[in-house]
């Protein structure tokens, strides 16, 4: 069912073409799916542009593949910090009226959202 692709896999760069049509790091289908999940509507021409741009970014990331990283621990955070915590004390809250006034739609003190299942109408 899931046809997840490992988009970051390293590969011989010499075979690369950065053309939007033929790039096999990321396909137009992948970009379309990601856009749909992010609720972004892309015109066909934008799909072409972004597929090309995303492929270039992935390609840049694949430079890492040139390095010998055996024995290097995966880094999960660029910041060399740990245990940043706060005390369990109540702080300032937002006013519900202010917040709901900026929401697209509200009802009875709650956010009103479109049906969560089914196609948006």
């Amino acid at each position: 069912m899931s046809k997840r692709r490992s988009v970051g896999r390293c590969r011989d760069r010499s075979a690369d073409s950065l053309g939007p049509e033929m790039n096999d790091r990321i396909s137009k289908d992948d970009v379309e799916k990601v856009a749909r999940l992010a609720l972004l509507h892309l015109e066909p021409s934008e799909l072409e542009t972004f597929t090309g741009q995303l492929a270039a970014i992935l390609d840049h990331a694949s430079d890492m593949g040139q390095l010998d990283l055996s024995g290097v621990e995966p880094m999960t955070q660029p910041v060399p910090l740990s245990n940043v915590m706060r005390a369990d004390e109540v702080g300032e809250l937002l006013d519900r009226g202010d917040v709901l006034a900026s929401a697209p739609c509200s009802e009875d003190g709650q956010f009103r959202v479109p049906p969560v299942l089914g196609e948006p109408s």
Partner: protein, 473 residues
Amino acid sequence: MSDFDESEWETVIGLEVHAELATRTKLFSSAPNEFGGEPNTNIDPVTLGLPGALPVLNEQAVELAIRVGLALHCTVQRSIFARKNYFYPDQAKNYQISQFDLPINIDGWIELPDGKRIGIERAHLEEDTGKSTHIGGGGRIHEADYSLVDYNRCGVPLLEIVGRPDLRNGDDAKAYVSELRAILVAVGASDGKMEEGSMRVDCNVSVRRRGETEFGTRCEVKNINSLRSLGRAINYEAARHVALIEAGEKVEQQTRHWDESEGRTHKLRSKEEADDYRYFPEPDLVELDPSAEWIERVRSELPSLPAQRRHDLVDRTGATPAQAGLIVERGLDALCIAAVDLGADGSRVVTHAEHNLADPRAVDLTPENLAKLTEMETGGDLSATQAKQVIAEMVETGASPVDIAKAHGFEAMDTDALATTVDEVIAANPDEWQRYCDGDGKLTGFFVGQVMKATKGQADGKAVSALLNARKS
């Protein structure tokens, strides 16, 4: 009981329990950890995922997570947070902050009252979601016209405790959840109220033929709100799997919803589609690496846990494991042990705790009064029936057993008076007496009952039996 041949089929169960941690504030923001009141009153920029808002970890939530981890015999390790991406309005920011490949607690176990050990794979921190209400279509999500969202619960700290698939029947699954709840409450991590949703149980069920070593395809059942539902849902789901396989069909991996009123599960979704959560390390939070000193300090402060308390109670009072399970659950174990330390008879104390102290106020009894009560029984000052009445009033009023017995005029019956009554009862029932003397054991109860009636329950049953026996020629 199951609706299939258990000699042929084995049920395999693994539970995922979400417990709300009893902090004052949310996991990543200083909004109060309170919900159920006016919607959207406990909200701040982090709760709503407003642009620029940054999460900061609540130290007390970590403290409670470590407490639970240690109580479950887990290893507490360096951990990181991860984004679980999904599109549903119960998280305003379109992802939930959870822990994925490096959870805070791993590899523990729980001991059930009967001694079985059930493995714990992990117990990790994550934030709760908001509450959505579906409007139109009879409140069902599939047919709703729109939904309303309350973010008060969004961001409340949860500990997700993932058990290994070591459970084999509904009763053990219920015992596991009870034990886990008792541990959560004992360490002060959560109130453990399943009906109110502060402890939520998702249940993975599969079946396989006995002797098979591979697991069958599993389904995850959600919306289980009580221990009773848990047992029912497991039995229903296992029977459904067996029926499918026996009909030559396959079990599809699904997430299913338990419907308590219909007593069945319904398909919510196929599992494969839902699994693509695109987890990645949360860039807004740094790693969590509790020091050895922190972990050891928490370990040294852990209270005595239910399994240990059961063992102690059995050792000190001679209670059976089943009695110990019940008494510890009622929180009466310390009372029982203290009464025995004051010289009370262990078996009488345990019998009272098991049969006469179901009232939650029983925890307020003093060991002195309980010990005194058993002493009055042993000394023959109170019959079993009277003792039961006295202990009920002790729970009710907190008065001493001596005062209560005096107020009711309960006194040890004079042996001569009791003997006279026994003789009168024998004289009034000559046929029954003959049969008793001929060895009809059933008549012991009859005579004891008659004497009890004549003395208005004041006689001691054992003393009556002894007198009857002595008069048998």
